[in-house]
């Protein structure tokens, strides 16, 4: 007896073959070019992630113009603190060199972020003062030069 193949089977096989082929064809066009080059991701995304522009220029860029501040800072306890910690993002200023493009902080609040008393700060990590007792009403920079805090202004 001849081997019997019910008519449903070849018809369904064709339908599924068409479906799977269409899927593979679509997939062929939709998968991004660099996908899978290094791993299960779009390799081009690595380049995308390098693209954003920087806002913080790093202190080397500052010292190109402000050599004097570097020298001053080097002599006192703020020597390890980078310029942009207090002055904020500097890249705009580096490019334009306009004074309004850099932030000049002042006020007890600002200095207090580091120097206000808090039980969580180790004494060895930062010098702390009690903002409620220490020369109340005065701005810190009236006495202290922020670049050289212990060079007191008279």
């Amino acid at each position: 007896m001849k081997f019997y193949i019910p008519p449903q089977i070849p018809r369904l096989a064709i339908a599924f073959a068409i479906f799977i082929s269409l899927f593979l064809l679509l997939r062929h066009f939709l998968v991004p070019d660099t996908f899978g080059k290094y791993g299960h991701y779009r390799a081009a995304s690595l380049i995308d992630n390098e693209q954003p522009e920087i806002h913080y220029s790093g202190q080397e860029a500052c010292f190109k113009c402000h050599q004097n501040i570097e020298d001053k800072k080097a002599q006192d306890v703020h020597s390890e603190i980078h310029c942009e910690t207090c002055h904020g993002p500097g890249e705009k200023h580096v490019i334009s060199s306009k004074a309004e493009d850099i932030f000049k902080p002042s006020g007890r609040e600002f200095c207090g972020k580091c120097h206000a008393l808090n039980a969580a700060k180790l004494k060895s990590a930062v010098f702390q003062i009690d903002l409620e007792k220490h020369n109340v009403g005065k701005n810190c920079i009236e006495c202290h030069n922020p670049h050289q805090p212990w060079e007191m202004k008279k």
Partner: protein, 398 residues
């Protein structure tokens, strides 16, 4: 202010204890509650249909096609809550073209396709092919061609070919049962595999999801059977309800046991996260867990069904009871999905505080959208019942 930010400030004001700042924005809303609920109905309805076929429970015959078509209508909508919840829905196709093999969500796409194409559509096709061929010969105009296309042009209705329809359909059903288990087990795995979340991360999660899926699917088919009979002005066969009720009773016991085991294990081991979870269930989830899921969705139906096994009631009263129990069980299972999905995000991964959840009415992930996705399958089912009416099928001759 941006309404989203305004919403987040409100939530922040209502948060308790300490939560990581990024956790204030609760990521998976009501649509992700609806998603496992709908998928569960699919798996449950299919398993009920398979019972009739594989285990030859003749009494369930009137619900066989209804269960299959219910499963199909819900399955067609199952992925929609997920897709409409994406913040970049136009990129959803990426799940199919570059599926990440280690991601439960990615593999779900293929499990879904397998289940839709190879199991449900094929089973329904084999089941209806004879009828569709006959209908295409009887009808005129466009419907003739619709049925012709649906048969894929296989118009052979010789006894030998029809025997093969049944044989192949049977094979598909046998393949279908594990497929249905995998389909919904996988939904459970999407949550159960997240080790960062102790409320989700349990190996029992897929099994619990599976059994609650069966509970909900059985109830849904029972309700739909009753509603269809009402609209067709046909009397509801009580022995059909009784045997569905019996299955519901047994599966409900299993479901209750499994969920109980999971919680007992959690309480006894009392790991790092125990305190925060204890607080969670006794405050934020109290109503939805103990009242909706536990009392309304499990205890009351269990007790009632147990009584129905032993005592005789008036037929009309019995039907009403079955109807109410069906609704109760669905409320319970929906609450279970809510408790898992929303509950798992209410407590901080710092285990030190809670965020809160307020569901919006409008918007892509609002209540209206969720209601729409729950109602849409019923519209599809109505259409399918019109296109492929089970009660007009050509009876099989053995």
């Amino acid at each position: 202010m941006d309404p989203h930010f305004q919403h987040l400030y409100d939530i922040l004001a209502h948060s308790q204890g300490y939560i990581f700042p990024n956790e204030i924005d609760l990521q998976w809303g009501i649509l992700i509650v609806v998603y496992p609920f709908i998928t569960g109905l699919v798996a449950g309805a299919f398993i009920l249909a398979s019972l009739e076929r594989v285990f030859k429970v003749k009494i369930l015959k009137p619900t066989y096609q209804i269960a299959l078509l219910t499963a199909l209508s819900f399955l067609l909508v199952a992925t929609m809550p997920l897709i409409s919840h994406l913040s970049q829905p136009q990129r959803a196709y990426e799940i199919m073209i570059t599926p990440h093999s280690s991601s439960a969500m990615a593999i779900f796409g293929f499990v879904y396709l397998w289940y839709l194409m190879v199991v449900l559509l094929l089973e329904i096709w084999f089941d209806y092919r004879h009828s569709m061929v006959v209908w295409s010969n009887e009808k005129t105009g466009i419907m003739k061609w619709v049925y012709k296309v649906l048969t894929l042009g296989v118009s052979d209705i010789s006894p030998r070919t029809l025997r093969w329809d049944r044989k192949l359909g049977y094979i598909i059903t046998v393949v279908g049962i594990p497929s249905a288990f995998i389909l919904h087990g996988y939904v459970g795995f999407i949550f159960g595999s997240i080790k960062a979340n102790p409320w989700w991360s349990t190996p029992l999660m897929p099994i619990i999801f599976l059994f609650s899926a069966m509970v909900s699917g059985i109830s849904m088919v029972m309700l739909i059977y009753m509603i269809i009979s009402y609209f067709r002005k046909k009397s509801i066969e009580l022995n059909v309800l009784d045997s569905i009720g019996k299955f519901l009773f047994f599966v409900l016991i299993l479901d209750f046991t499994l969920e109980g085991l999971d919680q007992i294990q959690r309480i006894y081991e009392a790991e790092e996260s125990f305190e925060i979870i204890k607080l969670l269930v006794s405050s934020k989830l109290y109503l939805t867990l103990f009242v909706s899921q536990g009392l309304i969705g499990t205890i009351i139906p269990l007790i009632t069904l147990a009584f129905l096994q032993f005592y005789k009631y008036q037929i009309k009263l019995k039907k009403t009871i079955y109807f109410i129990i069906g609704i109760f069980v669905l409320i319970g299972v929906y609450s279970m999905r809510w408790n898992v999905v929303i509950g798992g995000q209410l407590f901080s991964k710092s285990f030190s505080g809670f965020t809160s959840f307020k569901v919006g009415l409008i918007g892509l992930d609002g209540t209206l959208m969720a209601v729409f996705w729950i109602l849409l399958p019923f519209a599809i089912l109505a259409f399918l019942l019109w296109l492929l009416p089970p009660w007009k099928m050509i009876p099989e001759e053995d």
